[in-house]
């Protein structure tokens, strides 16, 4: 695939991702492992994030959004592509240089239960990155840990306790404190609130927003919950089967989605208001996400797309700017907004017809007591 030399991009961009690809081999056999296929988890992503901005990355499970986050941080070494952070291509860094860079970019993990070592005290968990990077020595480490605990809204007396003594929301705060311990500029938040209860989610979302303002952080916010992503992001990218299908400034993506997948995704999210819910018509996508081992030809979405045309099967749509940085990869992006409501109406009619037909069938079945 393409391997262009890194372009020097916009100076306002903190991080630039160019043609990022992350492929995993699928092998068979125990001793002699034959390669029988490739999972293209991330298949050619390009985007940039400005300093102080939050880019939301949404998609269903298995679409490659977490892999993207990990490949950017070089937790996986990407198969292809470049990640330019402050003028440096992270994909070419090795050894000490890579370790030094890791101070600048950090990650907050999804599962606050699995991402903290149960045998370490909270103080040790947060203090370890400080010691590894030699940011403080001796007593100063402990002072810094106390400061970080205060920053994320925890009592500094908690430093001597173990993770199991905390609730999910508190653990997520510990994870955030650990990520911030090395004073990063860029933080990948990988589903930071999905494991938390509704009333706790808002606490953590607010904390992330406050920290961003206080410390000037830049976020890549990965989540499957479109409402949370909308709330926190400046711009939003929608992923489907390893590719970004739409990317735009947040409000515009939600009010005027161009890609049929985005439209279906948005219509599927229930809104906590019965009045609104009664008026809404959902676009129900048929079937499941196809396997990334053998993705469909042309546009990856064509197998589920309700407004598919023959061209979609043959040619992959380009990722085109439809004005003001609103990108979409769809052959019918310009007309989709008009076509999709008809799809929703027809679906509603079909469901009503099916109910009528099935009721007649069911009534015949008598129940044996």
């Amino acid at each position: 695939m393409t391997s262009l030399p890194p372009r020097s991009g916009d100076a306002a961009n903190l991080i630039e991702v160019q043609d990022l690809e992350m492929h995993f081999p699928v092998t068979r056999g125990i001793v002699f492992q034959r390669r029988v296929g490739t999972i293209k988890a991330v298949d050619g992503l390009s985007f940039s994030i400005k300093k102080g901005e939050t880019l939301g990355l949404v998609g269903e499970s298995g679409c490659g959004k977490s892999t993207t986050g990990r490949a950017i941080l070089q937790l996986y070494r990407p198969t292809n592509g470049h990640v330019i952070f402050e003028g440096q291509d992270l994909t070419t860094l090795k050894g000490d240089a890579l370790r030094k860079m890791r101070r600048r970019v950090q990650m907050i993990f999804q599962d606050p239960y699995a991402s903290l070592n149960p045998r370490m005290t909270v103080g040790d968990i947060i203090g370890e990155p400080i010691k590894v990077h030699r940011l403080r020595e001796g007593k100063a480490v402990r002072e810094r840990v106390d400061e970080l605990l205060g920053l994320v809204g925890l009592n500094s007396a908690f430093a001597n306790r173990y993770p199991h003594e905390f609730s999910g929301g508190q653990r997520q705060r510990i994870g955030i404190a650990r990520a911030l311990a090395v004073e990063p500029q860029f933080v990948v938040c990988d589903e930071p609130v999905s494991a938390l209860d509704v009333s706790i989610q808002a606490q953590v979302v607010n904390l992330l927003e406050e920290l961003q303002q206080k410390l000037g952080l830049t976020y890549l916010f990965i989540a499957h919950d479109l409402s949370v992503v909308k709330h926190i992001s400046d711009r939003v990218a929608v992923m489907y089967l390893g590719k970004i299908v739409e990317l735009s400034e947040g409000a515009k993506l939600y009010s005027m989605p161009l890609h049929p997948y985005t439209q279906a995704l948005l219509s599927a999210v229930p809104i906590p208001d019965p009045k609104v819910e009664q008026q809404r018509r959902r676009i129900i996508l048929e079937g499941d996400v196809p396997s990334p081992l053998n993705p469909p030809s042309g546009c990856h979405f064509h197998t589920r797309c309700p407004i598919m045309i023959p061209k979609c099967k043959e040619e992959e749509p380009p990722f085109t700017d439809y004005g003001d940085g609103h990108f979409a990869a769809c052959w019918r992006a310009r007309e989709s907004a008009e076509l999709m409501p008809t799809v929703a109406r027809k679906q509603a009619e079909a469901i009503a017809a099916r109910i009528a037909a099935d009721i007649a069938k069911v009534k015949v079945k008598s129940k044996v007591g």
């Binding site: 808002a202 709330h231 906590p272 019965p274």
Partner: protein
């Protein structure tokens, strides 16, 4: 007409080393025929234990239904013999569980799992049961249904497994379907498929549905009435439209304010509920929500507020008349919450 399911003062306790956990504490609610009731609450509020108590599936020990009555079609399920329960479970009351990955038996074909209850409850022969199972799979939208009867659960995706679960649940035309977080483990486009399916089947079969969820969006779209649970107690109940338009319990108000909405503009600051849900061991005699409540007053700490009528068909467990419009008291106590 008497309600189909009438739960009165249900108490389910778990005996643990640290003490007795009152997971469900004097909970009452009812479900009418053909109606959809939503039970909302956070993890640990007792909503799943309530549904398991109705099905008499509480593991004992450590659990025990300590009191109350559960009338189903006039019969108290808590007095029913195990044999009578077997006749009800899966036949007249069916359940859809949260996790379709673990609630199907991995070593039996889905055909066998569906036909089991058909042969047992409806006394169908093996052949009749198989053809009925194919019909059911078709009804829940599984393509080429008759071919897939011989497949094992691992050959289905998550959404498809949930459809198999639903096919099993509706196989005997139950009068009451209990759906315990039926879409929590699924992606949003699959969730839309499943919710649409439950709605369609409910209409076709005229089944009453009790849907247990933490997602207020699902409740808004699916239910006729809502019961809100907190710390093992019912804290508010009303018709769905009324509850969302005019919530009267500070917990419900807090929940509605804390969730980001898809139709919100950006920049609205979320108002989280501070603190954590209380431990259910030795809950003192005070309002269980008082440590997290913005409107807390001294009276809240003296007794557990009873569920009282605040409007027509609307009851809330709060001593005061608090609405969405009630201004917040001036001093905002600091807490762990940011």
């Amino acid at each position: 007409m008497a309600p189909l399911l009438d739960v009165r003062n249900l108490e389910t306790h778990f005996h643990t080393q640290d003490g007795v956990v009152k997971a469900v504490d004097t909970v009452s609610f009812y479900v009418n025929r053909g109606e959809t009731l939503g039970i909302v609450g956070e993890s640990g509020c007792g909503k799943s234990v309530t549904s398991l108590s109705i099905m008499r599936l509480i593991p004992s020990p450590p659990g025990k239904v300590a009191g109350g009555q559960i009338f189903f079609d006039g019969q108290d399920l808590l007095q029913a013999s195990e044999q009578q329960m077997r006749h009800i479970r899966g036949n007249r009351i069916a359940m859809i569980f949260q996790d379709p990955m673990t609630s199907l038996n991995p070593v039996l074909t889905v055909g066998r799992q569906i036909t089991e209850s058909l042969e047992l409850h409806l006394k169908l022969t093996k052949r009749e049961a198989l053809s009925r199972a194919a019909e059911l799979l078709d009804m829940v939208g599984i393509p080429s249904a008759s071919k897939r009867l011989d497949n094992y659960p691992h050959q289905f995706s998550g959404g498809m497994r949930q459809r198999v679960m639903i096919a099993m649940a509706i196989s005997c035309n139950p009068e009451l379907l209990i759906a315990d977080e039926p879409t929590t483990a699924l992606d949003v486009t699959i969730q839309a498929q499943i919710l649409e399916l439950i709605n369609r089947l409910k209409e076709e079969l005229d089944t009453a549905v009790m849907i247990i969820t933490h997602d207020l969006g699902v409740v808004a779209g699916m239910t006729d009435r809502v019961t809100v649970m907190y710390a093992g107690k019912v804290v508010e109940e009303a018709k769905t439209a009324e509850l969302f338009a005019n919530p009267r319990m500070p917990y419900t108000i807090g929940l509605l304010r804390s969730i980001p909405r898809l139709d919100d503009g950006r920049g609205r600051k979320l108002n989280p509920i501070r603190g954590l849900p209380p431990s259910l061991i030795d809950l003192p005699q005070l309002c269980p929500f008082s440590p997290r409540c913005d409107y807390v007053r001294d009276e809240c700490l003296t007794k557990t507020p009873p569920l009282r009528s605040v409007a027509e068909d609307h009851r809330a467990a709060c001593l005061f008349d608090i609405t969405m419009e009630t201004p917040l008291p001036a001093q905002k106590p600091e807490g762990v919450a940011a």
